[in-house]
Amino acid sequence: MSRGRAMAALPPPRSTWDAINPLRLLGELSETRYWMYLLLLPSALLITAIVLFPTVYGFQLSFTEMRLNRPAGNGAFVGLKHYQRMLADPIFWLSLRNTAVWVTFSIVIEFVVGLVAALALNRNLPGGKILAVLILVPYFLPNVVAGNMWALMLDSRVGVINDILVRIGLLHEYKAWFADPNTAMATAIFVEAWHSFPFFTLLIMAGLKGIPADLYKAADIDGAGAFAQLRLITLPMLRTIIAAAVILRVIGLVNSPDLLLILTQGGPGRSTQVLSLYAFQNAYSDFNFGYAGALSVVMFVLLMLFAWAYIRLSKVNQD
C-alpha cells in the first residue's frame, strides 16, 4: 500500500450543505449516547397513547357511570357500584364459570393435539414438510371465516358433518349443535381447538429441535421406552416453552370473545356466555361502558393473578 492512500481515510470535507444535511445530522445523532432512547421514542409514545392511556382510562371508567344511550349523569363517580352489582349479578358468576370451562378444555385439547402433531412432525418423515404447512393453515384463518365455515358444516339442515354422522350411524337425525345448551359449549370448544392447536404445534416443534439427540440415544441405551422418554426427557425439556405457550393461549382465550360472538353470541340461553363476551356485549349492545369496564378490569386482574401463579408454579423464572 502506498502512503498516499492515507488521504482517502480522512472524513469528507465539510460544506454549507453538510451543515444542514439531515442525513448527516441524523448520522451524528446516532453516535450520541441517547440514540437507543430516540429509537424507542416513537413506539413508546404510541404504546403509551393507545395502550397505557386507554387502560388507565378503562380503570377509571369502571368507577364511573358511562352509558352512551343515556347521556344524563355520564362521567359521574359512582365508586364501587359496578363491582357491587357484579357480585350480585348471576350472569357474571355464570360467565366466570363458563370462562373456566372454555379456557381449560380448549387449552387441554389444543395442547394434547398440538403435542402429538409436533412429535409426529419431528420424526422428519418424507412429506412431513407439506403436512406441516397444511396443519398450520387453521391458525392463520380469520375467526369470521373459521366460525362460519364450521357453522355451515354443523348446520342443522345443511351441515355436512351431520350428514356424515348419520350415514355412519352415530346419529339418528341431524343435530342443531349450537342450538342445544348441552352441546353448544363443547362444539364451540371443538372449533376453537381446531383453530388454535397449530400454535402449540409450532412452539413445541421449535422446542423439540432444541433437545440434543444424544439424550434420546442415552435413554435408548438405558432401555427407556417411548413413553418413558416422553415423560422423562421431552416434556421436562419443553417445560419453559410449554409454559410460555400456555400463558399466551390463556391470555388469548380469556381476552377474545371473537369466535363465540360469531358462533353463539353466548347462547343458547347463556350456556356459552363467557366473561369477555359479557363485557363486550355490555359495551357494544347496551352501551353500559361503566359496567363493561368493571368486568374487563376483573378479567385483567384475574389474568394477571393467573399468569403470576402459573409462572411461579412452572418456575420459568429459573432459566
Binding site: E28, M36, F53, G58, A117, A292
Partner: protein, 281 residues
C-alpha cells in the same frame, strides 16, 4: 435388538403418518368444503339429501357477492387499514426492535417486559376507552383510527418477533461497519436491516394477516361502509339475508386468498419468527 428397533420405528412412523394425515385432512377439509360450497347453486346447498359435489358448477355466488353486497368496498377498506397498520408498525417498530436487540441501556429489561405485558391487556378493556377517545378525536369510523387501534396489540408483537431476527445478525457486524466509517444509523440501514430482510418481510406479513383478519375492534370502531372491514361485513351478511351460505362461502374464500398466498410465500421464515419471539417471551 436391531430388528426390534427397526420394527418399533416402523410402527411409530406409520402411527405418525396416520396422525398427520388425519390432522391435515381435518385442517384443510373445512376449507375445501367451503370452496366447494362457494361453487354450488343454492339448490345444491339447501337440499333434503346432501349434495357433495356440485351438480352444476357456478360462479354465481362470487358474482352476486361482488355486485350486490358492497364487498369490493369492504375489501378495499381492509386493504387500507392493513396497509396503515403495517406502515405504522414498520416505522415505529423496526427501530424499537433494533434498539432492544443491539443496545444495553438502563431500563431495557423493564421496557421490554412492558412491551410484552401489553399483550395481556384484555381487548375489551381497551376497546371501550379507545372507542371514546377515537370518537373525541374524530378517528371513530376511519381506517386510520382502526389501524392505530390495531397497533396497540400488533406493535408489541412486531417488536418482539423482529427482535429475534435482529438478534440473529452478529453485533460485530455493526462494530465492523462503524470502524469502516459508518455511523450507527448507517450501519443499521446498510448492514443489519438487509441481513434481517427476510425476517422483516415475514414479520410484516404476520402483522398484515392479523390486521386483515381482525374482527372485534373493527366491529366496535367502525360503523359505516366508509371504513368497515370485510370480516364485519361478512358477519353482517349472516343477519342481513336468510343465511346466504353460497355467498358467505365465496366471501370467505376471496378474503382468505391473500392470507393463504402470503402465508405460503413466507411461511418458513414466519414460523421461525413466531416461535423465536414466543420462546424468548
Amino acid at each position: 435388538m436391531a430388528q426390534t428397533r427397526t420394527g418399533s420405528n416402523l410402527i411409530w412412523n406409520i402411527l405418525s403418518y396416520a396422525v398427520l394425515i388425519v390432522l391435515a385432512l381435518l385442517s384443510i377439509g373445512p376449507l375445501l368444503w367451503m370452496l366447494l360450497t362457494s361453487f354450488k347453486v343454492d339448490d345444491d346447498i339447501v337440499t333434503r339429501t346432501m349434495v357433495y359435489f356440485p351438480t352444476r358448477f357456478t360462479l354465481e355466488n362470487y358474482i352476486k357477492l361482488w355486485n350486490q353486497s358492497g364487498y369490493p368496498v369492504l375489501v378495499i377498506n381492509s386493504l387500507v387499514t392493513t396497509t396503515l397498520t403495517v406502515a405504522i408498525c414498520l416505522f415505529t417498530g423496526t427501530i424499537a426492535s433494533y434498539a432492544f436487540s443491539r443496545f444495553n441501556f438502563p431500563g431495557r429489561t423493564p421496557l421490554m417486559l412492558g412491551y410484552l405485558v401489553v399483550r395481556m391487556f384484555p381487548a375489551v378493556l381497551m376497546i371501550i376507552p379507545l372507542f371514546i377517545v377515537m370518537r373525541n378525536l374524530g378517528l371513530f369510523d376511519t381506517s386510520l383510527g382502526l389501524a392505530v387501534a390495531y397497533t396497540s396489540f400488533l406493535l408489541p408483537l412486531f417488536v418482539w418477533m423482529l427482535k429475534g431476527f435482529f438478534d440473529a445478525a452478529p453485533k460485530e457486524l455493526e462494530s465492523a461497519a462503524r470502524i469502516d466509517g459508518s455511523t450507527r444509523i448507517g450501519a443499521m440501514f446498510r448492514i443489519v436491516i438487509p441481513i434481517a430482510r427476510n425476517g422483516l418481510v415475514a414479520t410484516c406479513v404476520f402483522v398484515a394477516i392479523a390486521a386483515w383478519n381482525e374482527y372485534l375492534f373493527a366491529l366496535m370502531l367502525t360503523s359505516s361502509t366508509g371504513s368497515r372491514t370485510w370480516p364485519v361485513g361478512l358477519q353482517l351478511m349472516v343477519g342481513e339475508f336468510q343465511l346466504p351460505w353460497g355467498m358467505l362461502a365465496a366471501g370467505g374464500i376471496i378474503s382468505i386468498l391473500p392470507v393463504i398466498v402470503l402465508f405460503a410465500l413466507v411461511q418458513r421464515v414466519m414460523v421461525a419468527g413466531i416461535t423465536a419471539g414466543a420462546v424468548k417471551g
